[in-house]
């Protein structure tokens, strides 16, 4: 088809189909959807006016994708069956391509119609399963079903390349693949149509400047909103995206439908639950500099073994990024962001169920139905008390992968552990309640001590080896037998001297003595006398040896040899002065004395070894204790330690 100028069949106003692929044009004067057919123009009925959002896009914007220029020429606004809207922008390319730029919750997906190969059929809407990889799709990467649902054509603007019928409902399935691959199966026609593309950023498609575009958004006026139950004023942060809001004055849950509020029910917080520690409306600047506002907060609970556990979740909002979550559980905090389901792969089947994301393996921690117990603020979906999803948590501290699954949708998200100090800094608050146990993905912060802490031990071994030439090559400097004459009485010691010998400096000294004792003792006081300075270093060398037979078994204690170790002494000539007493004092005592240097004794090494091991071993013990506390709250505690 070609460019066509004509008049609107409804109001007669001039209309122009500028793109050859355009099927339907929304009349800018009367908002009739005008279709061009073989028999002329057809009025399909009035379409609602687009509910303006904070989207940076607008009709007429020009961008580039894969070197091809395009222009946004149409816009269809679709309503999700669970509430909420998303925009689909019709991109007309200069080379004739037709693309769709879908915009949902701050993310953008550019897709193109993709014909299916011959003899290949797409699965029916009824048979398609969440998490299933759709076979036969002409895509570089396998695509998994992320969501299935029914969309309603709510509003449109500009030119649309298909026969848009206002209010018409159509089934769809969203697909996701690795490397940001994205696809949609549109079941509005038979056979269904397949669109394949990828998640893009505005910079990637030459629309980066669109962020700075300002326009007079016809946003729902928050000033005009009042609670239909109590009449109190309501201030909505994201009125164009919110589907539910609670009234801060009367605690009513209200439905939001493009500015129209409807009273649903009065909410009561669960009993014995602490209030939210961060207020709805608070702004927080996170480590990457992004400033989010808390627009909603909810209490969720899970029942395990009959015991109900609660936690708080804060919905964060930033217009150009979309929604994020801040989870507060047992006074631990997690910043949570969405994850492409196709980037999560199941681990190798085994005793411990695992998944892999971004090259990291996560172990299953919990698998239980999570229930919404109470809400406060505004939400982008039709949240309800009692809303239940299957929640599965996998942990790899400090990260936690969470799967939330309903019959129609599966969402993966990645939580990153935040310390209280980080949350306090982000929100400018003080004295947040302290955590009282170990969180599922809380990192053990002393890992350094039981990993790198063993490096000094290794260094000690290396140093010990290199020190052997200095400490371990024993050198004998004296070996002499001396005879102590019989003592005059049992208390009067006898003394004698060795021959002089030389000691080197910086070498330890070992003095050994051997005496022929048998069931007796000898006590030697040995003085090492420096012949030049007359300095004396004294050691006591006791020798005792006892043996016998008792109850038919022989025993012995002690021995005829004994020694004493000294630290190094100044180099020089020395003499041993040996003064002795012994049990058989009436007899002489022949004693063999030996003086050695550079004796490899090992006590210094053992002392250093023990000192260096204390902290690594202590922290290893703490680590095991920490992991034990972490996993005791898990349904899969057999998963054990994470390392």
């Amino acid at each position: 088809m070609s460019v066509l100028q004509s008049s609107c069949p409804s109001c007669g106003g001039p209309i122009e189909f500028t793109a050859g692929s355009t099927i339907v044009l929304v009349c800018p004067f009367c908002r009739s959807a005008v279709a061009r057919t073989d028999r002329g123009l057809q009025d399909l009925g009035k379409v609602a006016e687009i509910a303006e959002t904070q989207s940076p896009l607008k009709l007429g914007l020009k961008g580039t994708f894969n070197g091809q220029r395009f222009e946004l020429t149409g816009r269809a606004q679709m309503r999700h069956e669970l509430g909420g809207y998303w925009d689909e922008w019709y991109a007309t390319f200069s080379n004739g391509w037709v693309g769709w730029l879908a915009e949902a919750q701050g993310r953008f997906y550019l897709t193109f119609y993709q014909p299916m190969p011959q003899a290949t059929e797409l699965p029916s809407f009824a048979s398609i399963q969440l998490g299933q990889f759709v076979e036969g799709i002409p895509s570089k990467t396998p695509l998994m079903v992320q969501e299935k649902g029914t969309a309603t054509s709510a509003a449109a603007d500009g030119e649309i390349p298909y026969k848009l019928v206002p209010g018409e409902q159509s089934d769809y399935a969203d697909l996701a693949g690795k490397d940001d691959a994205f696809g949609t199966i549109d079941y509005s026609s038979d056979p269904p149509w397949l669109f394949i593309g990828k998640h893009v950023t505005l910079d990637e498609i030459g629309l980066g400047d669109a962020r700075s575009v300002t326009r007079e958004a016809r946003r729902v006026s928050s000033e005009a909103m009042r609670c239909p139950n109590c009449g109190g004023p309501l201030n909505l942060v994201a009125p164009d995206q919110s589907e539910r809001v609670t009234c801060p004055n009367c605690n009513s849950l209200l439905d939001v439908n493009q500015g129209n509020l409807t009273y649903l029910k009065a909410l009561t917080p669960p009993p014995d639950q602490p209030d939210f520690v961060l207020p709805v409306g608070a702004d927080g600047t996170f480590a990457d500099g992004t400033k989010y506002r808390i627009i909603g907060a909810m209490v969720r609970g899970v029942t395990i073994d009959g015991i109900k556990y609660f936690w708080h979740e804060y919905l964060l909002y930033e217009p150009t990024i979309g929604f994020r979550w801040l989870v507060h559980s047992d006074n631990h905090w997690n910043f949570v962001e969405p994850v492409n389901p196709a980037d999560v792969t199941q681990g190798t089947p085994g005793i411990i169920q695992t998944v892999t994301y971004n090259g990291q393996t996560f172990k299953i921690f919990q698998d239980a139905p999570a229930v919404v117990e109470y809400v406060k603020g505004e939400f982008y979906w039709r949240v309800e008390q009692g809303e239940t999803v299957r929640a599965v948590d996998y942990v790899a501290p400090p990260k936690m992968l969470s799967l939330e699954m309903t019959s129609d949708e599966m969402n993966w998200s990645l939580g990153t552990y935040m310390t209280n100090a980080e949350v306090e800094k982000a929100f400018g608050v003080k004295d947040l309640p302290k955590p009282w146990n170990v969180a599922p993905n809380q990192p053990f912060t002393a890992r350094f001590y039981y990993t790198w802490g063993f490096l000094p031990v290794l260094l000690l071994l290396i140093i010990a080896i290199f020190l052997i030439p200095f400490t371990g090559l024993t050198n004998t400097v004296l070996s002499q037998q001396i005879v102590l004459p019989p003592m005059t009485n049992s208390a009067a010691p006898q003394t004698t001297f060795s021959q002089p010998f030389d000691l080197k400096g910086n070498r330890n000294v070992r003095i050994s003595a051997t005496a022929p004792v048998s069931n007796s003792w000898a006590d030697l006081d040995v003085d090492l006398v420096n012949d030049q300075s007359q300095d004396v270093e004294s050691v006591d060398i006791p020798i005792e040896y006892y043996s016998g037979v008792e109850d038919g078994e022989s025993w012995s204690e002690g021995g005829p040899d004994q020694d004493a170790i000294l630290s190094s002494l100044p180099a020089g000539k020395y003499t041993l002065r040996v003064e002795g007493t012994w049990q058989n004092w009436q007899q002489q005592m022949p004693v063999t004395v030996k003086v050695e240097q550079s004796v490899n004794r090992g006590v210094n090494f053992c002392g250093a070894f023990v000192l260096l091991l204390i902290i690594p071993l202590l922290n290893l013990f703490r680590k095991f204790s920490f992991e034990s506390k972490r996993w005791k709250d898990s349904m899969f505690s057999s998963s054990g330690s994470d390392e």
Binding site: T471, D523, E537, S538, V539, S567, N604, A608
Partner: protein, 50 residues
């Protein structure tokens, strides 16, 4: 970070002490009355016979 620095300082001190003891012939546990470390760390003297 402070604790890590403290631990690294402690480990370096132990290693340097061990090297110095090896080089200068110091024995942490020795029987000398006036060891080069100033006093015997462990005195294994005789305390009387049977």
């Amino acid at each position: 970070m402070f604790k890590k620095s403290l631990y690294i300082g402690f480990a370096v001190a132990v290693l340097i002490g061990y090297m110095a003891a090896g080089w200068f012939g110091w024995e942490v546990a020795n029987s000398g009355s006036r060891s080069r470390l100033g006093m015997p760390f462990i005195y294994n003297g005789f305390h009387g016979g049977k």
